[in-house]
C-alpha cells in the first residue's frame, strides 16, 4: 500500500539564511539553518518584487523567525520576520570576517544534516559569527582574530557530526599524549609515536593535540598545526573542494 507523504508545517522557527539561489523570475530557493531542524531548503515565492522588503530579509547571515510548510525536501516559505535582538547581538560582517563567515556557511551547507536538532551547533554558529564581527579591522596582520573562531568551529562541528578526533591517547601504546613529543597523526585512529609507512599521517606536536582537546588555540603553532589537521579531517567528509576557501586564497594571497 502506498503511503501519502506527510505534509510538514513548521511555525515560527528560529533560523539563519546560509545561501540563496534565484528561482524563476521573482522567487528564491533559500537554504536555511534552522535551530531545531538543521539544514532545510525552501522556495520563497515572489520575494524579489515584494514591497514588504522580504528579499532584504533573505540575505545570508540574517537571523529570522520563519514558518515553512510542504512535503519532501523543498518546502515553501510562508512567513518570515527578522528576529528581534539587542544591538550587541547583531552581526556586523565586513571584509575578511565576511569571507570567513562565507566559509562557515559553505561548511554547513555541505555537512549539516537535515531534520536533526542542531541547537548546539546553532548556538556555536552565533558565537563564532559574533566573534568574527567584533574584528572588522582588516589591517590586523596576525589573523589571530579570524583563525581562532574558525578552528573552534571546525573542531566542534566535527564532534557534533560524530567524527571526533582522538586528541589525547597515543593509539599505539595506549598512553596519554605527552606535550613534549611529536606524533604521527592518522585520521581514523589518532596520534602515534611510531610512523606507519603505509598510512598517510601528519606530523603534529603533542602540545597542539592537548591544546585542541581543551579548545585552546591561543598560540601561532597550535593554530598552524591544528589548521592542517582540521582541514585534512574535514576534507574527508566533503565531496568537493570548498569554493570559499579558494576564493579567500585568491583574495588575500598577497597579504
Amino acid at each position: 500500500m502506498n503511503t501519502v507523504p506527510d505534509r510538514i508545517k513548521l511555525d515560527y522557527k528560529t533560523a539563519v539564511v546560509l545561501h540563496h539561489y534565484n528561482y524563476q523570475d521573482n522567487s528564491l530557493i533559500v537554504n536555511f539553518f534552522v535551530q531545531e531542524l538543521g539544514k532545510l531548503s525552501a522556495v520563497a515565492r515572489g520575494v524579489k518584487n515584494s514591497k514588504k522588503g522580504r528579499y532584504a530579509l533573505l540575505q545570508p547571515f540574517q537571523k529570522l523567525t520563519i514558518s515553512l510548510s510542504g512535503k519532501g525536501d523543498l518546502l515553501t516559505l510562508t512567513q518570515v520576520e527578522a528576529l528581534l535582538q539587542a544591538d550587541s547581538e547583531k552581526w556586523n560582517l565586513k571584509g575578511k570576517s565576511l569571507y570567513c563567515a562565507y566559509y562557515i556557511n559553505e561548511l554547513l551547507l555541505n555537512l549539516l544534516p537535515a531534520h536533526t536538532d542542531c541547537s548546539a551547533i546553532f548556538n556555536l554558529y552565533h558565537e563564532v559569527l559574533k566573534l568574527l564581527s567584533s574584528h572588522i579591522d582588516d589591517s590586523d596582520q596576525d589573523n589571530f582574530h579570524y583563525e581562532i573562531p574558525l578552528r573552534l568551529f571546525e573542531l566542534k562541528l566535527l564532534e557534533f557530526l560524530g567524527y571526533s578526533l582522538n586528541l589525547t591517547v597515543d593509539q599505539s601504546s595506549g598512553e596519554k599524549v605527552s606535550a613534549d613529543r611529536q606524533y604521527y597523526y592518522q585520521l581514523d585512529v589518532g596520534p602515534s609515536l611510531q610512523q606507519n609507512i603505509q598510512a598517510q599521517a601528519l606530523l603534529i606536536s603533542g602540545q597542539t593535540l592537548l591544546n585542541m582537546a581543551q579548545s585552546r588555540f591561543n598560540d601561532q603553532k597550535t593554530l598552524h598545526e591544528s589548521k592542517q589537521l582540521l582541514k585534512w579531517a574535514i576534507s574527508q567528509h566533503l565531496n568537493k573542494p570548498l569554493k570559499s576557501r579558494e576564493l579567500f586564497k585568491q583574495l588575500y594571497a598577497n597579504k
Binding site: 545561501h19 532584504a56 560582517l93 565586513k94 571584509g95 565576511l98 559553505e106 576564493l247 579567500f248
Partner: protein, 199 residues
Amino acid sequence: MSHSPLIKQLIESLRCLPGVGAKSAQRMAYHLLERDRNGARKLSHALFQAAEQVGHCSSCRILTEAEQCDICRSPKRDRQILCVVESPSDVYAIEQSGTYSGTYFVLMGHLSPLDGIGPQDLHLDILKQRVMQESIDEVILATNATVEGEATAHYIVEMLKPQGVKITRIAQGVPLGGELEYIDGSTLGLAFSGRKELD
C-alpha cells in the same frame, strides 16, 4: 494534436526568455505565424544580428556592438569619475536619474564565494588597469545593497587602495517619499549610521 517540428522548435526556443512558459511560448509562436509574418522576420533578423555582433565595450564592459560604447566615447562625460555597477540595467537606471555624468565599469555580476564566482569572472583586472592608466580621481562603488554586493565592494576597495584613488560607496537609507514606520530595521539602521550634518 502535436505541433509540427518547426513550430515545436519555435515554441521551445521562445521558452528561453524569462517569464515565458509553455503556454505563452505557444501563444507567441502562433501570433507570429498567423498574424505577423513580417514581424517574425524582423525579430529573427534582429535576434541573429544582435547575437552575432553584440559584445562587450573594451573599457566599461557594457554590452555593445561597437569597440567602445556611446558613454565611453562621449566627449561630454567626466572621465575623472568612474562608477562601478553590477549589471547593464544598473547603468540605465543611473542614466535615467540624470544625476551622474562620469563613466562606468560594469562587472556583469558580483563575487559569490559559495557559487565559485571569483575576481577573474568579473574582469576586475581590466578595472584595475583602467584606474592605473587613466587619470581617475574617484571610483564610486554602486554595487547592490546585498551581502554579495558588499563582498564585491570590499574586494574592489582592497584592490584599488594601493593606487591611491578616492573610493566612495553610494549612500543607503530612507527612499524618497518613504515613511519611517514602514522601513525595515536594517535600512533604518544604515540610514542612522550614515546620517549627515545639515548646514
